[in-house]
Point group: C2
Chain length 578, copies 2
Amino acid sequence: MSAAGSLSLAPVSQPHVLTIAGSDSGGGAGIQADLKTIAALGGYGSSVITALTAQNTLGVQGVHHVPADFVIKQLDSLFSDDLRPDAIKFGMLAQADTISALAKFFAELGDAKPFLVLDPVMVSTSGHTLLPDSATRALVDELLPLVSLATPNIPEAVVIASSKGEALQQPKTLDDLVALAAALRERTKVPSVLLKGGHLSLPRKDVTATAKARGLSVHWDASGEINEDDGVDVEVISDWLVSEGLAAASPDVIVDILVDAAGTRLFVGTKVESSSTHGTGCTLSAALASSYALETRRNGKAAATISTEAVGQAIEYTQGAIAAAFPLGRGHGPLNHSYLQSQRTIPQPSAHNPTPFISYLIRSCPDMWRQYVRHPFVDQIGKGTLPLPAFKHYIVQDYHYLRHYARAHGLGAYKSTDMESIKAFAEIALHIAAESTMHVAMCEKFGVTPEELHSAPESAASAAYSRFILDIGTQGDVLDLYVAVASCLIGYGEVGLWLQRRLQTGQATLENNPYARWISDYSGGEYIGAVRRGISNLERRIAADPPTPARLARLTGIWQEVVRLERDFWQMGLDQSW
Amino acid sequence: MSAAGSLSLAPVSQPHVLTIAGSDSGGGAGIQADLKTIAALGGYGSSVITALTAQNTLGVQGVHHVPADFVIKQLDSLFSDDLRPDAIKFGMLAQADTISALAKFFAELGDAKPFLVLDPVMVSTSGHTLLPDSATRALVDELLPLVSLATPNIPEAVVIASSKGEALQQPKTLDDLVALAAALRERTKVPSVLLKGGHLSLPRKDVTATAKARGLSVHWDASGEINEDDGVDVEVISDWLVSEGLAAASPDVIVDILVDAAGTRLFVGTKVESSSTHGTGCTLSAALASSYALETRRNGKAAATISTEAVGQAIEYTQGAIAAAFPLGRGHGPLNHSYLQSQRTIPQPSAHNPTPFISYLIRSCPDMWRQYVRHPFVDQIGKGTLPLPAFKHYIVQDYHYLRHYARAHGLGAYKSTDMESIKAFAEIALHIAAESTMHVAMCEKFGVTPEELHSAPESAASAAYSRFILDIGTQGDVLDLYVAVASCLIGYGEVGLWLQRRLQTGQATLENNPYARWISDYSGGEYIGAVRRGISNLERRIAADPPTPARLARLTGIWQEVVRLERDFWQMGLDQSW
């Protein structure tokens, strides 16, 4: 437990990824798919729109072109020293003059130009031409030379490469594909080419054999079921699939090929069988720009080329988004872009809410919390009116409780994984031992001998509370235990500070108050220091690994139970009950 | 552990929320903010664009209007029985003819019209008029009567209400605000009005007093620090804030007012001090449409009005997104829309990857896994060539191991929270006891007496493995323990099935093989049935509560360690080492 000050309240920033593309009113492709992808991967997305489409899962019903000068106007707004992106993807650019204007804009940026990913949206999956000839020429001759990474599908690669030299045929084998990717890179001089092989299913065994024979590095897609591609037959998974009535992985695979200065790499995976593939190309290129930008942020510097890992991540994200898609519309539905998103229940601490976890816990049971920390027992302690037998009964039981509470911290030390936490638990155990000594002294003052103290039986309220903490600590992990011990630590601090405030307003007194020592101890610097450290520690742990909704529900349940047991502990003192 | 078949592979669907608004090239407002909000809250977003803006954090540099007929064309694509949304929000509608066309479109839908939220983007935070007069008239007279919920800010509410009757003044008190909201609803007949009070800071104490005096229900915003508004003074949090050098919550609050047929409710919270507020109104109205749609999905039916809870969720999300914003641009920066998003590391099981967790674990250490399940020891068992002393040494140690392995399942029963899991652990403990009996019989056959078996010391490899499992089980929670015991369960199944396959190809034999019984046992129906249930159980637990990245790292570490210890256990047998 380091100093309380080390809980960070600084917001976490995100890299900025811009998409320059068309709008899909249906939300499945274009800038809509791009913005969803960028957000899902952890980036901040902005968009320059080149054309609007009226579109659904069945097709495109209308297109409204945005004038080239307004496309540039949108870009100007971003680049006017305000929202300069870390990476850009180009999608549907629609018209020759738009493409020329964009090429001019980025050429003028010179070395200040961000990492540019171009998805040359020219030929659709079904073979339809999506760009007029003049636009294709502008794309290939003007824009392509400026980009860092191009992501053509097979028909696009054939068109582009053929336009720059001898006409190439549609590839039929892996060797053809590798040759096409290499020719494209050579002829266009684009630093990195990712040739998307989705149009060509290849037998898994042929791919493995060719890759081996040619010494090509192969990255198997980890979004699908594990199989022999991962370097080990998994009989037990195949058996399980059969037992569940599920098909084994297809014998055919899809190969994407990355060629850059470092060589050729194959990204191989089984095809996801799905009709939810609308926007796949948009998603992949947005994911590539995002994973590049995120890697740049992690590394603290921008690389000239995209890494193999970033490409692998983008491909896996896209495959996973197809696999997780739910049916929508009557035609080719959208991907599920948020399939890797889970809801965070406790936000990062911020200046607006620096203790979001403890605030959440207290808000989960405000009435019970108030009954605990504003109990008549502590009110009477503050006024000095609490009957002495009630306090005696309480302090004897609390002495027993403290022994088990100290044991819980021993258990916490056992459950810790780092020496810092072990030390913190051991220190608290020592504090509790000192607190216990104070109890012995107090008891003697109130006429309870150490022998009477030791031999007194435990009341139900005391045993129920201390054993609940120990059981949670044994059953759960160290975080469960932290929450189980927090109500006692924090609640006594709350009582101490509250009584301190009441002293100032005359609602409590230390004069002639037999419990003055008790009040001073729990509002004193040493105890309150421990409370402050406890609060910071708990918030820091939660911020470092925010609980899932299920986990938070369990932690909240533990909190509510220990708050209730604390309240009942005061009541036991007041009633002198067993 | 119920039947293996109950692991669901069905994708989880999302409600569809449409935004009809302008595009903000900077990504912070307009449809960009809306799409980010819808995705963050768990919806599927689509967008009909009414205007493009060239915009950044400093202002709007240009506007390109989309013709009204193309706005309707976009809507037609969605409503042509393909992508009909569950809720719609209207943002910047820009022009009178667009507004009239939209009003006509939705009026013609009649009862088939979805839940409509209107953010009347007419007057900016700074008081600038954003809509021409003709458009304002169309908005108020034609579109407003069709919507389910309107979300004006104070200046907009004054303009709209005044246009429908006696001119109203700018409100100065909570009473004024409540009266304005009520007048607006009465005069426009909009079923629900959410009046956004962001323009008017009010003293916290006045709000509390007025609400009490008028009997208004108050919902305190839980996105900020807990304070006396939550019904309890929290001295301990105030003390902690001071100790951290942080300011206490502002004495002023912001009040949003919801008025509908059920009455008036106040949503009160402290203002987030931030310049990152660009797109706040867009975000709130998109969040309202999303939380309505999500609630509809949860309840299985569409309510006529939005619930208090859904409004509270939308306000808290928006406040939290401002609080979590990081600096971007030189002016009013965007909100952080993904502040509640955390990265899910293991996707939901799908047909593409039905066992994502176990596939992930095995992929995390394929070499070690291969060394374990294809160890020379088991190869020699399959061929019957393993030296008898090696097998004897192994089986004696495995007998010891099984005792602790059974204890680990007893610990699992202790750590379980439901009777079903306790039963499952107890059943496995019984299976292990039976397996152990088989070991005794095997030992006797190989000339090891029960006495020798019991009194044999434990080898280091055996003790290291079994005690590692018990320690993980004691230190962590039940999921840690499930992973710690999984390598033994699943790996022995893998070995059994692999040897079974080798029997078929002649690479293993049962004839004259002294270990035939061992092979049959671990590839037999009873054992493999347990393996299948174990796989389903683990995947189901992970799917129900997907681990955070930190949690997954811990689980992966446990897995890799038990795989290594299993490999070393075979090696210990082969080497007859201690």
